[in-house]
């Protein structure tokens, strides 16, 4: 798209700045701190070429990466070789309107912002602070160049098919791994996570996947053999004797192969379109934010931080779970997801073995269905999902179901239970009063449906059980120096929390499988791990994407996803480092991880 001809109307207000130079328009949501604002504006105005998107992508990425949280929110819209490049950071939204559809790209809920290259064309592109009304297109104002005050902007272009970049038609979508049909109807009931995200929920997964491909594929074309060799060397370096071998993880890693054979390849194939050139992508952008197109699935070409033994704990490079196979580099998507496998319906019950327990996301069959007015979300008769209770009475219903009272007169089928009138048979068992004085050992007993795991630890002088490596009690902060010699066995306290970028926080008192539909994992089905459901509108998360496995006092992140991958942020090199599929990393407190486009931080008070 040629943005140089577009008409730019700043929206009234003086809170932020609008800056235009060549083929780029920048909106900065705030005018303070002045130094950061000036850096942003200078970065953009230094470019005068008609299509600065690609260069600006790199420069802004490093600017964002060096941000110490003072950088104001901003939005960049720039012409690029593949169409329009958009980068949003902070509490800012960009809306792109074309004849067929509208897109919203929001920087809310991401660490390092979101960037996308879209083929366009778009007739109007607006930028504003998140939550504010999008600026209206104005036809009697046109800022041609320079910087002015404003609270957003509307950019209107001539939209004609001639304006469309040639590249847009050249996008190659891998034929077999592209999601075909059914993605939109995967979840029968509305998914609250999707519904609440105003960001880009309107983008079908396949479209999003298709749009991403220029960004992934392009750098690959520029990758020289020498660079690839460097990557291989870096990977080989991980096998050096001083690299920490994660033996507990290694011991069980093979079980994932079974899992994958059983469920993952077929399950992931239809929904997670892998990048077209998985093995060779090597972007020249050193910093790839978590919300980005997944960072190139190869470790940094030069000086991988992973083998730095002297690094401080937080900056300590990830430790791979076991010796690296060469699979991550050479693996083609087809290997992990056979193209010949027919994409099964995403609803597991349709194909699951008889002992399958219905996943939580599947709507429970209503207690009664009025023949006249079936609820809209109820499965249609042709749906192969059967009522599991009807077909498998012996193997299901692990818990007694609550009494139901059907109330006629409602609009649809529902189950209900009056809470006001309880008869004695109906009463849950009486509980004991909460203790007034909690035993210190009890305080940290996980308050969840998890089995107690006994580990070796030390007890602080106030009675809290701790990691033997601790110098201070993680509960009360008292020095542990006197106690470190006496090992006792006790129930393991939670090892920390995973905080996702939307604030969802999970206490690590149990193993978890993280994913879009973690119930499909054998570990979850067998009760060995809790499901930690996360999703994003673009479905960059696999059904079972990663595992958080607690081994003694450590949290291991195991990447289960061969498609969009799992990454850890390496402070030393300021890069996202991919975890090879099936391998694991020991998380250090404060470590950031990215799963597909979602990201999270591991927080722990268990500081050693």
């Amino acid at each position: 798209m040629n943005l140089s001809d577009a008409r730019l109307a700043p929206s009234p207000g003086a809170d932020g700045l609008i800056s235009r130079s060549g083929g780029a328009v920048l909106f900065v949501a705030s005018r303070t701190p002045a130094g950061d604002v000036a850096r942003l504006v200078d970065t953009v105005t230094a470019h005068h070429q008609p299509r600065p998107g690609r260069s600006l992508a790199r420069e802004l990425a490093s600017l964002v990466a060096s941000d110490d949280t003072t950088l104001p929110g901003f939005a960049l819209v720039a012409a690029s070789a593949g169409g329009v490049y958009v980068r949003v950071y902070g509490s800012v939204e960009v809306r792109l309107h074309s004849d067929g559809s509208d897109e919203v790209i929001s920087g809310v809920s991401s660490f390092t912002g979101v960037d996308r290259e879209l083929p366009g064309p778009f007739h109007t592109i607006t930028a504003s602070r998140a939550g504010e009304v999008a600026p209206a297109a104005v036809f009697d104002v046109d800022l041609r160049a320079g910087t002015t005050a404003g609270n957003g902007f509307a950019l209107t272009t001539q939209s004609s098919s001639a304006d469309m970049p040639a590249q847009a038609s050249e996008i190659v979508i891998p034929p077999s791994n592209t999601p075909g049909t059914g993605e939109a109807s995967v979840i029968a009931a509305p998914d609250p996570g999707v519904a609440l995200d105003a960001g880009s929920s309107s983008i079908p997964a396949e479209e999003a996947a298709g749009l991403e491909q220029p960004a992934v594929g392009q750098p690959a074309a520029e990758t020289s053999d020498a660079e690839l060799t460097a990557v291989e060397a870096a990977l080989a370096g991980l096998q050096a004797p001083d690299a920490r071998i994660d033996q507990p993880t290694e011991a069980w890693t093979p079980t994932f192969d079974d899992t994958r054979e059983a469920a993952a390849p077929a399950a992931e194939a239809p929904t997670d379109a892998p990048p077209p050139s998985w093995g060779s992508a090597q972007p020249d952008e050193p910093v790839a934010p978590p919300t980005d197109t997944p960072p190139a699935p190869t470790p940094p070409a030069a000086g991988p931080p992973i083998s730095e033994p002297q690094s401080p704990p937080v900056a300590d490079g990830p430790n791979w779970g076991s010796a690296l196979p060469d699979a991550p580099v050479d693996q083609s998507p087809a290997e992990s997801a056979p193209p010949s496998a027919p994409p099964p319906p995403d609803e597991a019950p349709a194909t699951a073995p008889p002992s399958f327990e219905p996943p939580a996301a599947v709507a429970v069959p209503p207690a009664y269905e009025p023949p006249v007015e079936p609820p809209p979300a109820a499965p249609p008769p042709s749906e192969p999902i059967t009522d599991p209770r009807a077909s498998e009475p012996a193997t299901l219903a692990p818990l007694p179901r609550p009494e139901t009272s059907d109330a006629p007169g409602g609009g649809g089928a529902f189950t209900s239970q009056l809470l006001g009138a309880l008869d004695d048979d109906d009463e849950p068992e009486a509980r004991e009063a909460l203790p007034v004085d909690l035993d210190p050992a009890e305080v940290r007993a996980p308050d969840q449906l998890t089995d107690e795991v006994l580990v070796q630890g030390v007890v602080c002088s106030r009675g809290h059980f701790n990691d033997p490596r601790s110098r201070f009690c993680s509960s009360c902060g008292i020095s542990m120096v006197q106690n470190t010699q006496v090992l006792t066995r006790g129930p393991r306290p939670p090892l920390g929390v995973m905080v996702f970028e939307d604030g969802a926080t999970f206490s690590l008192s149990s193993d978890y499988v993280v994913g879009r539909q973690p119930d499909v994992s054998d570990l979850v089905r067998d009760g060995l791990a809790l499901p930690l459901p996360v999703d994003d509108p673009e479905r960059s998360i696999s059904r079972a994407h990663a595992e958080l496995r607690l081994v003694e006092w450590d949290v291991h992140l195991v990447n289960l996803s061969g498609t969009n991958g799992s990454f850890v942020w390496d402070e030393a090199s300021q890069q996202w480092v991919p975890i090879p599929e099936g391998q694991s990393v020991v998380l250090a407190p404060g470590m950031r991880v990215a799963l597909g486009r979602r990201s999270a931080v591991f927080e722990s008070s268990l500081v050693r």
């Binding site: 902070g90 809920s109 660490f111 998140a130 029968a188 009931a189 609250p192 609440l196 219905p358 996301a361 709507a363 429970v364 209503p366 809209p376 609550p402 007169g409 409602g410 609009g411 649809g412 529902f414 209900s416 239970q417 009056l418 809470l419 006001g420 109906d426 849950p428 009486a430 009063a433 203790p435 007034v436 004085d437 909690l438 305080v443 940290r444 996980p446 308050d447 969840q448 449906l449 998890t450 509960s475 306290p493 939670p494 929390v497 905080v499 996702f500 970028e501 939307d502 604030g503 969802a504 999970f506 206490s507 690590l508 008192s509 978890y512 809790l530 459901p533 931080v601 927080e603 008070s605």
Partner: protein
Amino acid sequence: MDRIADYQLLEALGGGSNGQYYVATTPARLGIAADKVAVKVLQVTAGEDTFHRLTRELRTFAKVRSSHLVTLYDAGQESGHCYYAMEYCPLGSLARPAQELSRDETIGAVADAARAAHDLHEAGIAHRDIKPANVLLTEGGAKLSDLGLVQVLAPGQTITGLGAIGSVEYLDPAIMRGERASRATDIWALGVTLHRVLTGSGVYGELPERDPLLAVRRVLSSPPTLDERLSDAEAELIRRCFDKDPSARFATAADLAGALDALRSAS
């Protein structure tokens, strides 16, 4: 959304943890006099097990006899969407009172919430989600509402994402770390609630709403601080809700309610 089960939803009351509140017309089957009830529709779609855990938790709550707990009427699900109905309190909550409250009324409302918490504790239940928005105002005093259900809906999760960040401020960081909810964690939340309603500010300053990660990190890493505008007696009382030394804290929520009553009559 204008209907769930046989409830006609009249007006959205706003979001709470895990779901949305609505005012709804009372279905005749409830057999109650009030013509309106409050209905909370949960964001999660729940399977059978989750629904079972949910109703079990709600029934345990409903069984607690306390004049300071909202009355629950009905729990159910339609197409996997869980809801529950409770008494509607048109006077609003401590977070958004329908009319301005005096300092004494404010302290009295928190005292009522503390009494409700105590009644729950004696019945073996920790509330887990005490905050101004869950202290509802009625003619006959305040009532505590909306049991924290996140651990029921998503085992292991300690904070729901998506808009629940307002609750982080009130949560004892120990819960966030996965420790057991207890009398102490609810007393902590009551202290932060009192601080918020007396001063209009939180004990961590203003948490960045747009950056939940930073908000969670701040709560986990920084001790609560008290606003200088509080009187010495107020500050002392709030401090005793989260003193670093557990033995200096209120042992029970009833003790806290007593101290609040004294604080009210003292001034």
